[in-house]
Symmetry: C2
Subunit: 459 residues, 2 copies
């Protein structure tokens, strides 16, 4: 009789775990059953803003694999619209509710994967539970917002919080012809960047006709018959037919907490390198787990599809009897908002300080192609570097087309703990359509190395 | 009285050495005099095809700094149209000919920088010295070809050899409305790639109406009154009003040879890590030197502006009393030909074999953006990997827009001697406008790691 693997959560992490376990163990060895609260499996949550903005016309295009495909190709059974409400560790079973009928059942397991994802942060403010206020986390959120656009024809959209998803949604609404405002309590949006780099994002947003209100905290939401109609800050009330929360997300820890599966200070489920939780036979992967940050050497919660896929794969390999470990993250992220490309990796200044590093920073301005080559567009690169050692601690890029993806070379340098002295002679590619003869990354490393040397000579 | 630094060659390497030496030592400590055989200083040789193709309209745009600017800003004297014909090491002097007047003078030096660049390979065949056959190395070559286009209105261009510069010139001629043929004796053009990847370049060329003749060696050139009119191969005679040699370039070693300054088996001047030649007080930098290849651990001659700039900088810092070393190269190169983006780093298969590695290769096809995101274009990545260790040995990319510059992350991984097992979990950036959720590099690493594991289990 086969062992039974239950998966809680049918997106990237859970279904990667399922398919990778299946690759190692056939149905005669392992039965796999996945529960997904929503209506979709293996979709691109990162694609939601593009679906809302009608850059992608059909929701099916965001779906990598349907429940039918999992069944037919991998002998994995998926029950959508089914929510796991409780894990009974001692009884080796979960309680599952069919959301359509309300019927609850009990399903036994030998192995269990927690892939419950993350939940958007929602401020506890007057009116914050009103209709028309959306967090964007699962594909059902995307279809709901797109339905509102089609049926209610909202005119005014307000984005609360200038994180990645918030700004991507701002662009989506702009593309759909709405008047769009972004309200952020921080000095600049995109607070994963230092404020000086975030200011470049603000400029890009303003250039495209998005109203940006900074240093403004939302204090309440005006409502009309239970539906949002305004966003109130200390300084003003913004009319709002639809509101999106772009305040980030936190690991969905509820089931783990109830079952007594340990959660770390980051808020994510604690896992070892093989993605095992502290509970025997229970694994976790994706946005619900905490990750080791290789530069700060701390556990962090970062909700990102790329990590979810990797962690799910690793959990699946280990469940299947193989061996794989997750080496951690360096905090790389990238987005594109209204033509402004933004990327970061490692630690920004405040994070570097918080982790105990003495550091210095440099910013260089360059171009994405040789200055004389048509289409050369501006790129600004900021490096955060440890004093004395000259080790790279973090990097940020803001620019126009062909700028942001360059962060990958910096993320790889960071991963390998390179110093800016080593980096400035890296054999990066050069031809006029791709960079000046000194690649912007090399220029930044060269400038940072000069600064490090100056600091050393002052000691 | 200041020391005297002479520079032979006024482009990237020589003038970087000059300006970096000047940064450390003022005119009271160091007199700097540079000789340049041609008419331009500090120009982008890599920009020549774009000037010929009229993508760049004005030759001045290719010039980073003129002799006047060197004089006024850096107190560096440059004599253009002056060729150094001999180095007298014992007498600490060079012989210089003013090419306009033929007058020869002798100039003493304390320190000397050889930055004589490279010379295009020219086959010794009947007719190969005819007018109308151009190597493309210095900016004067570019202005000469552009003059021919303007004055002689050639109809048929033939490129002999499918290297980078040859293919870039093929595109330039195509842009100018000529009928263009490329003749290459190899199985595929761009022989710095493996043939399977080179075939993708051929397809791109053919799609754009360039005639490509492969496995065809040129046997002679037909001439008419001393001017080329045809390119003869074993199979055909191609009409030719203008011919460009794209057979690569070799270090310009003539002066070094005559002076007894050692040249290595690669053909380049031998230098130590600080860019010192074997002769006291004589430095060398740029295309004329040989470079340490970090993966093959051999000396190689690679003519490339990015190395020339780095080496020149390092020579200048050391001449100025500072300390800097050149860590070598990994063989990164990139180009764009008629919309086909091509990049490589490290060793291709035949080079890996030649260096003694047992290796395997994988090729993956992916897209430059999420499949559902508009503008996703194809990208093929090939990795060459050492068997057993799984260490990356080389990578090649062929694709359309936004493909090639991704080689930098691979070059950085290679530089740090990463295994594909380590690479497959690299924290590379992901958002739908930039890559699928599994970045193509990670997909390639994952596939390569599977292959390595299979090979291991066969042992």
């Amino acid at each position: 009789m086969p062992e039974r693997l239950l998966i809680i959560g049918g997106d990237a992490a859970g279904m990667s775990a399922a398919t990778n376990a299946r690759r190692h163990l056939g149905p005669d060895r392992l039965e796999i059953l996945a529960f997904e609260r929503g209506n979709f499996t293996s979709y691109s949550a990162c694609g939601i803003p593009y679906y809302v903005g009608d850059v992608v016309g059909d929701v099916d295009r965001l779906i990598a694999r349907t429940p039918e495909e999992f069944r037919d190709r991998s002998a994995i059974e998926v029950r959508i619209g089914h929510e796991v409400t409780e894990i009974d560790l001692d009884g080796r079973a979960v309680r599952v509710r069919d959301l359509a009928t309300g019927v609850e059942t009990r399903e036994g397991f030998d192995q269990l994967v927690l892939a419950t994802g993350a939940v958007p942060k929602r401020p506890q403010l007057p009116g914050s539970d009103a209709r028309g206020i959306y967090g964007i986390q699962v594909l059902d959120d995307g279809t709901a917002v797109r339905d509102v656009l089609a049926k209610e024809e909202p005119k005014h959209a307000v984005i609360v919080g200038g994180g990645y998803i918030g700004l991507e949604m701002a662009e989506a609404f702009k593309l759909r012809g709405l008047q769009v405002s972004v309200v952020d309590k921080h000095e600049q949006p995109m607070s994963t960047l230092d404020p000086d780099m975030g200011a470049l994002v603000t400029k890009g947003l303003c250039d495209l006709g998005i109203d940006v209100y900074l240093n403004e905290a939302v204090t309440s939401f005006d409502t009309d018959s239970g539906k949002v109609c305004g966003v109130v800050t200390g300084q003003r009330t913004l009319p709002a037919d639809i509101v999106v929360l772009g305040l980030g997300a936190t690991p969905n820890r509820e089931l783990a907490d109830k079952a007594g599966i340990p959660v770390g200070p980051s808020g994510g489920v604690v896992v070892d390198r093989r993605m095992r939780t502290k509970a025997e036979g229970v694994w976790a992967a994706g946005d619900c787990t905490e990750k080791y940050h290789r530069i700060s050497r701390r556990a962090v919660a970062i909700a990102l599809g790329t990590h979810a896929n990797k962690e799910g794969r690793i959990a699946g390999i280990n469940i299947g009897g193989g061996y794989a470990t997750f080496p951690g993250v360096v905090g790389t992220a990238v987005t594109k908002v209204c033509g402004v490309e933004v990327a970061r990796t490692g630690l920004r200044e405040s994070e570097a300080t918080e982790a105990g590093f003495e550091h210095l920073s440099v910013i260089v301005e360059s171009t994405t192609r040789a200055g004389y080559y048509p289409g050369a567009s501006p790129i600004k690169i900021k490096l955060v570097v440890e004093k004395r050692s000259g080790k790279l601690l973090g990097a940020q890029i803001v620019g126009r087309e062909e700028a942001a993806k360059r962060i990958d070379a910096l993320a790889t340098a960071l991963w390998n703990e390179m110093t800016v002295d080593e980096m400035l002679n890296l054999d990066l590619s050069y031809a006029p359509p791709y960079s000046p003869v000194w690649d912007p990354i090399l220029i930044a490393a060269r400038k940072a190395w000069s600064q490090v040397q100056e600091t050393l000579s002052e000691c």
